[in-house]
Symmetry: C2
């Protein structure tokens, strides 16, 4: 049993290693830039070893999106959910997201923003899984707005997510890191305006 367990565990470690590297590459070059051969070469694993884990490029892409979503949840969502329900949690979600992009959790900035345009005109499971991640994020912001007792949570989620994504785009594509502070001011003012109105 020990030997078998050890093999399973090593297999899991290799899989995690491959997916972490795959997510990093995809955040810069896109999911189409991933190839089993390249990952095998970079990680010094046999091509058949990588292939055994994923079977096809589409499976590799889907597993990469899932792995990136897990990293995102661990980095942004879980810490924010330690904050009290309501505005503190809503603020923590927004600030956590900006930190996640600014600190380059993925080298290309937000993983999902990076791979989304690539699949816009390619319907299929990969596109759906990327879209689902984006929708879940907006739903989390919306839910935190509802729990904060704010009016028109859909409108608020639209505006706040717009600020976050604009900061990511301007920092990553336009080399303008000052965009993060612009987004922090924008989020703060948007939530302050709401608090003021609720008083």
């Amino acid at each position: 049993m020990t030997r078998v367990d050890g093999r399973v565990e090593r297999g899991e470690q290799t899989r995690r290693l491959i997916l972490r590297r795959a997510a990093d590459i995809a955040s810069v070059e896109g999911l189409e830039g991933l190839s089993i051969g390249r990952l095998a070469a970079e990680l010094d694993v046999s091509k058949s070893g990588v292939f055994a884990h994923f079977g096809s490029k589409e499976e590799l892409q889907l597993a990469t999106v899932r792995a990136a979503a897990k990293i995102f949840v661990d980095t942004v969502v879980t810490p924010a959910f330690r904050e009290p329900v309501g505005l503190p949690r809503l603020r923590a979600l927004c600030e956590g997201w900006l930190d996640y992009s600014e600190r380059r959790t993925f080298p290309g900035g937000c993983f999902f923003a990076a791979v989304q345009p690539e699949f816009s005109s390619r319907p299929g499971r990969v596109r759906d899984s990327i879209a689902e991640a984006g929708e879940k994020w907006t739903a989390l912001i919306r839910e935190a707005a509802v729990q904060s007792g704010l009016e028109d949570p859909d409108q608020l989620a639209f505006e706040v997510v717009a600020f976050l994504e604009a900061a990511n785009v301007q920092a990553v594509l336009h080399d303008f890191p000052g965009a993060y502070d612009r987004a922090r001011v924008a989020v703060r003012e948007r939530l302050t305006r709401v608090e003021g109105a609720a008083e």
Copy 2:
């Protein structure tokens, strides 16, 4: 002279036809999706005819960005500049941009939003020309904010451009056309807030 003029004019017409088609394709599939062979086939022009106009793929891409910028200016900027300086012009720029994206002036939504991520990790003249177009647009919004006597025009331009681009992304990539009205509300409230504060 007449014959020569006619040839020059026909050449110009062909060039415009090629670039219009190129901009439409690139708005959906990216600038790398352009090929001289494909354009020649789609427009029923000889490959050497297309090649004579542009010489290289990079020249074709640069000419396509310039052509798209001209269409953008004709569609959004020129009409807005007929409005009085100040808030009316600022509003017209924002509304014109949302209409330009919503009416699919280019089939893939905003041309610049579509081609920008593709060149993020490819430094060069094409990336620079795309970035320049984006910077000019933000500068126009900023200038209109200054002319409206608004405080912190950089912050205002960041927020307003964030709303516009978020609407485009959500409509085009997430099939959510309702995002345009969200952006209209967001822009209106942002400018109303400012007017209220200025009173």
